[in-house]
């Protein structure tokens, strides 16, 4: 079935793919500034629409009904799920959608490779009349196999990451000799891949995909929840690369460009993430950090000093400059709205209020910013780690809510600490610190926090929401009489 004659359709398709590539790049570019970000996703969306419609015009396309159904069904489901997912659950949703992209790239790999097997014997021999998509040259075969491998790993790995973040799966799963076993599985997969490149057969292809999928699972199982932001980011880059390579195998330039742009951007983002945790990507993938019992139990001299909400409110009342340090615990307690209410009260009273965010706050890079934005915090009140650290020495009161490891001064002072070397927010430099915390437990890394024992730190033991609203009402009470 052909909707347009080939001599009209092909240039139209090529022009559409070109336009899509330009729109994707400009879209991502616009997404990199808060002012233009919203239009960026719209531009990229138009690019996707143009490329999709143009593909229907491709000469020699069959199964158009099947294709339409395969687009419509998941689109409705994804639209519905994407609209109702809570902002705190965004990381696993991104992991899920990303895994689907990887799976799609792997499916393309499976099809182009099996087409070679299914092609009539000898029809792909050198010098023979080529039959379009059925024949792949050596480079195309190699990239089809590599793309399929990466795509399949990204698919099954992302699903495991999704299950872990969703709380469906035990956080870590380890056995002795795991690294050796995983290495063996990867090596076998790679050997099968090489054999497919040399002489493809159906059995080889099936075994290759089975092993690749298993490897994705094995690779993700031992990684702890704290490292998931890096893993999701890495699989995002993986899927981009897989798409690009399969695009080459198919001779589709839109896939090549869009996939490679995402692959490179994703790699950079992954490195930024890993750097913010002071670790290499290899260290995240192959070490056991973030699991139970990772921290040696150090004793800290001194005691944690409690404070009542009324006294904490008077500290805030007297302060000029206040920095709020939110952590994921705040989001878990759904306290960001109440916290913003408190800050609005403080701003009304002429205080200088800022939110300081550590790069790994939340469950994916920049996740905390999204959660604060959802609560209505304007983005220009949010400062990143470097700017915040310059501000802490002149800050009167720092409020730490739901953050722990990212404000632990032992990352600087104690070389035996598992988080030693991780860049932190220097909250301990503020004149006074109020820590809002539910109990005396340790953070993700299972490490004691010296900040909580410091002389100028006061602990407000309460649920995040309750603490923020009682601070707000105590603050209003202080206005009574003299105020307006």
């Amino acid at each position: 079935m052909e909707l347009l004659p080939t001599n009209i359709a092909m240039p139209l398709i090529q022009a559409s793919y070109f336009a899509a590539a330009v729109l994707f790049i400009l879209g991502i570019k616009r997404m990199s500034s808060p002012v233009t970000a919203r239009s960026g996703i719209h531009w990229a969306g138009v690019g996707m629409l143009v490329a999709t419609i143009a593909t229907f015009l491709m000469p020699g396309m069959h199964n158009l009904g099947l294709i339409s159904a395969a687009i419509l069904i998941p689109s409705v489901l994804a639209w519905w799920s994407g609209k109702r997912v809570a902002m705190t659950d965004m990381p696993q949703m991104v992991a899920l959608y990303n895994g689907m992209g990887g799976g799609s790239a792997a499916a393309i790999g499976a099809m182009v490779l099996s087409a070679v097997v299914l092609a009539a014997p000898g029809s792909c021999a050198p010098g023979a009349e080529t039959h379009g998509h059925h024949c792949l040259d050596l480079t195309q075969r190699i990239l089809a196999v590599v793309g399929a491998l990466i795509g399949a790993i990204s698919f099954s790995g992302s699903l495991i990451a999704f299950a872990k973040l969703q709380g469906w799966m035990d956080k870590t799963f380890r056995f002795s000799g795991q690294k050796f076993f995983n290495g063996l599985v990867f090596l076998s997969t790679a050997v099968l891949g090489v054999m497919i490149v040399i002489e493809p057969s159906m059995n080889l292809i099936v075994a290759f995909f089975a092993l690749a999928l298993i490897f994705g699972v094995l690779m993700t199982l031992p990684i702890g929840g704290a490292d998931m932001p890096v893993v999701i980011s890495l699989y995002n880059a993986f899927t981009g690369l897989a798409v690009s390579f399969e695009g080459y195998a198919q001779g589709n330039i839109a896939l090549i460009i869009a996939g490679m742009v995402v692959g490179a951007a994703g790699t950079l983002l992954t490195r930024l993430m890993a750097k913010a945790m002071n670790r290499s990507i290899a260290n995240v993938l192959f070490s056991n950090f973030g699991g139970p019992g990772a921290g040696g139990a150090q004793e800290i001299a001194g005691t944690q000093k409690g404070i009542e909400a009324s006294d904490a409110a008077s500290l805030l009342y007297m302060a000029e400059k206040i920095i709020v340090v939110p952590g994921y615990g705040m989001a878990v307690a759904q306290a960001q709205h109440k916290m913003w209410d408190l800050c609005k009260q403080l701003i009304e009273r002429g205080k200088d209020v800022k939110f300081a965010i550590h790069p790994v706050a939340g469950r994916m890079p920049g996740h905390m910013n999204v959660l604060l934005a959802e609560a209505g915090v304007p983005y220009d009140l949010i400062v990143d780690m470097d700017d915040a650290n310059a501000d802490f020495p002149t800050c009167d009161v720092a409020i730490v809510i739901g953050a722990n490891d990212v404000v632990n001064p032992m990352a600087k002072t104690d070389p035996s600490s598992p988080i030693y070397g991780m860049p932190i927010l220097d909250v301990s430099l503020a004149r006074q610190t109020i820590v809002i915390k539910r109990g005396k437990g340790t953070g993700f890394a299972g490490v004691e926090n010296a900040l909580f024992y410091a002389d100028n730190t006061r602990m407000l033991f309460a649920d995040g929401q309750a603490a923020a609203s009682s601070l707000t009402s105590e603050l209003k009470a202080l206005d009574g009489g003299g105020g307006h």
């Binding site: 997912v85 902002m87 480079t139 798409v243 983002l269 910013n369 304007p378």
Partner: protein, 108 residues
């Protein structure tokens, strides 16, 4: 079909482009940007469409169908969540009530 060397240049230039446009991104946009780039690789759906379009055996059709479905889920899901996140980013310099854009944002 694209010649090997030309493809290599395209790979390289696209990689630099991806690297450059992300290099100076503020941390506040990392999540939407990751989600947005996640949407962009949903273009894989187009490749799966072509593969399904030339599929003939039932097995090929099944794999192609799954491929297109996964790609479409990637594209649509990626778009919806990215749009939702970016919608929330506001500056305090924009008056909270007044401009039509601001009001739309507050309405949730």
């Amino acid at each position: 079909m694209i010649d090997g060397w030309v493809a290599l240049y395209i790979f390289m230039l696209a990689a630099f482009t991806g690297y450059e446009i992300i290099a100076r991104v503020p941390v506040i946009l990392h999540t939407p940007l990751m989600s947005g780039s996640n949407f962009v690789h949903g273009i894989v759906m187009v490749g799966a469409m072509v593969a399904l379009g030339v599929a003939s055996t039932p097995m090929e059709k099944v794999i192609g169908f799954i491929g297109v479905m996964l790609g479409a889920g990637n594209a649509m899901g990626g778009y919806v969540v990215t749009e939702r996140m970016l919608e929330m980013f506001k500056s305090s310099k924009v008056p909270a009530k007044g401009g039509p854009g601001a009001q739309k944002g507050v309405a949730k």
